[in-house]
Point group: C2
Chain length 348, copies 2
């Protein structure tokens, strides 16, 4: 697989399918793992990080489950390519910034991604569309098992998996669910929900993970606690919480539909109209508008396009994606122009 | 002619033709005239105002130039019909409120309108699309001459025509030009222009005359002074002023096109996109959006519709017009829904 092939590929988690996909965009689990006998990445020298990368590459090429993956050395990727992978949620922003013996392993469906020599030696991620916590866990668990057979992970019976940052120690697991909650936002109920989530020791973030703001009614909810609970317990708790939130969003959609039908219809169709006709559009505004269009699709109001198309528009209008489509560097203003052009093409 | 026939009729001043019609919507002149031997309308009794109406009706039916007109007694018009005529700029809002011996005389093209027993015994109006001060004056002058042959107008050599309100004494003439000045508004140059207009003793108003605010970049400029100058002088002064404003608007459009092309294109196409897709739209927002679309048409960006269609949309989406289309009373919210529906139908 080549990076450029991904441009025309709809990553699995954007397919708009899976359980509760009218509220849940995607479910993601990542595991932090470190190899015994090596210092944590920020303390490891060139030779040590090189050895880790070599070990992992060997495993990937020999293990059946990982054969349909490609290893990309970060040193061989351009700045735009790295940002491109960040936009596809295949690697973190911090990881993209340095390249020394760092690599990213991606499977053809973009379901599995393994960052090598990130904050931990390995950051394994599995992501799928819709609300699929246990299925996603089953997949990542298999990958974890296979890797455990090939290398020794740093693990202490009392502590669990050891990680660079103590917040990840224990299970080393972070499970995240990307929610689309337009009705809770429009009805001003979202703050109450976010407060409840925080009180239950879960974290809410924006579309691009840690440190990013929620835009266009998208909220990523994940576990904060990794230590002192089993993976099963963490997933059960998160599962219960997300089911609650999904229920509340769905009832609020019903309320809006029955009490504010014209208002809702107006917001949705205006957003669609602007996306089809604007000539300059920022990524922030785009997310707000696509959020409304996505709601329109989910409510059955908009039938011209489906959830998958909306999701694809989210992705291909991101800065690095636009620059890969145009095959050159673009200034912020040029991107706003190109973004609007791509939208008009795709929607007309 | 019946009132209802007007719904499908494009009044002459909305045809979007005539000189400088890319900046000037319409040119309007009205003359205030009173008959000798009768008190001014607010002092006239029922019998007197009835006699005035009878006199005028007789003239209208016998004079060739006025044969293609219809007399509507206000007492026979419903509230919606009256508002409908106000929206078509055929009569004033104040006039529409009372009905005692009031009548409106309209020609088939809606170029000529005579209000009987308004603030003065007669308010004669001629309106045409584009910038046509002298042609409009020629037409109204002929009507005035013909009426003068049939009745005696209150006139003193030192004062000119006598009117109920002293501000109209003298020529009794008010000449107004409806300007569309989006580029001067967008470039924040409009206040400088409006101040200059005020200093030269001209008045600026909104779309619906006295006491109305400017909306959507539409400004109606008219003479304030009626006394101490001949009609010719007033028209020459107004003509010079308007030519200046037209020139400034046109150069500013050129500047915007060359320096802010994408911004302008974006504003225009978004407005068009919203008009085509909204499900709720207020008349204020409509005017703002149609103003942008009109600019798009005038600049040759939008080719799907022409100026006449834009102007028709202005008119048929007014409250009374919507209610006549729907053939029933509509609340403000119902009108916002119907307005959006009419727009979607006409633009798709």
């Amino acid at each position: 697989m080549k990076i450029n092939n991904l441009i025309n590929h709809t990553t699995e988690w954007l397919r708009g399918t899976g359980p509760n996909s009218d509220v849940v965009i995607s479910t993601r689990i990542r595991l932090a793992r470190n190899l015994t006998g090596f210092p944590f990445p920020h303390k490891a020298g060139k030779i040590q990080s090189g050895e880790i990368l070599k070990t992992i590459k060997t495993i990937v090429s020999s293990v059946d489950l990982l054969k349909k993956t490609t290893v990309f050395a970060l040193s061989e990727l351009s700045g735009i390519d790295r940002q491109f992978l960040v936009e596809r949620h295949l690697m973190s922003l911090e990881f993209a910034r340095a390249s020394n013996n760092k690599a990213i392993i991606i499977d053809d469906e973009e379901i599995l991604a393994i960052m090598v020599n990130e904050e931990d030696h390995l950051r394994i991620q599995v992501v799928q569309s819709g609300f699929n916590l246990f299925e996603v866990f089953n997949i990542i668990n298999k990958v974890d098992d296979i890797l455990s057979q090939e290398v020794n992970f740093a693990f202490l019976p009392d502590w669990g998996y050891l990680t660079t940052c103590p917040t990840n120690t224990g299970t080393g697991m972070r499970a995240s669910v990307m929610l689309h909650l337009p009705a809770l936002v429009m009805s001003n109920s979202i703050n109450r929900i976010l407060e409840a989530i925080a009180k239950l020791s879960f974290t809410t973030r924006g579309l691009y993970g840690e440190g990013t703001k929620a835009h266009g009614n998208f909220f990523q909810v994940s576990n904060q606690v990794s230590l002192g609970h089993t993976e099963e317990e963490i997933l059960q708790n998160l599962n219960g919480l997300i089911r609650q939130v999904i229920g509340q969003e769905k009832s609020m959609r019903e309320v809006l539909l029955s009490r504010n039908h014209a208002f809702l219809e107006d917001r949705i169709w205006r957003a669609f109209g602007i996306l089809k006709s604007a000539h300059l559009i920022s990524s922030e505004e785009l997310i707000e508008l696509l959020s409304m269009v996505r709601l329109g699709v989910d409510l059955g109001m908009i039938k011209e396009i489906n959830a998958r198309t909306v999701n694809e528009l989210f992705l291909i209008t991101q800065p690095a994606h636009l620059q890969k489509i145009e095959e050159k560097k673009l200034s912020a203003r040029e991107r706003d122009l190109k973004r609007a052009e791509v939208l008009r093409q795709k929607l007309q």
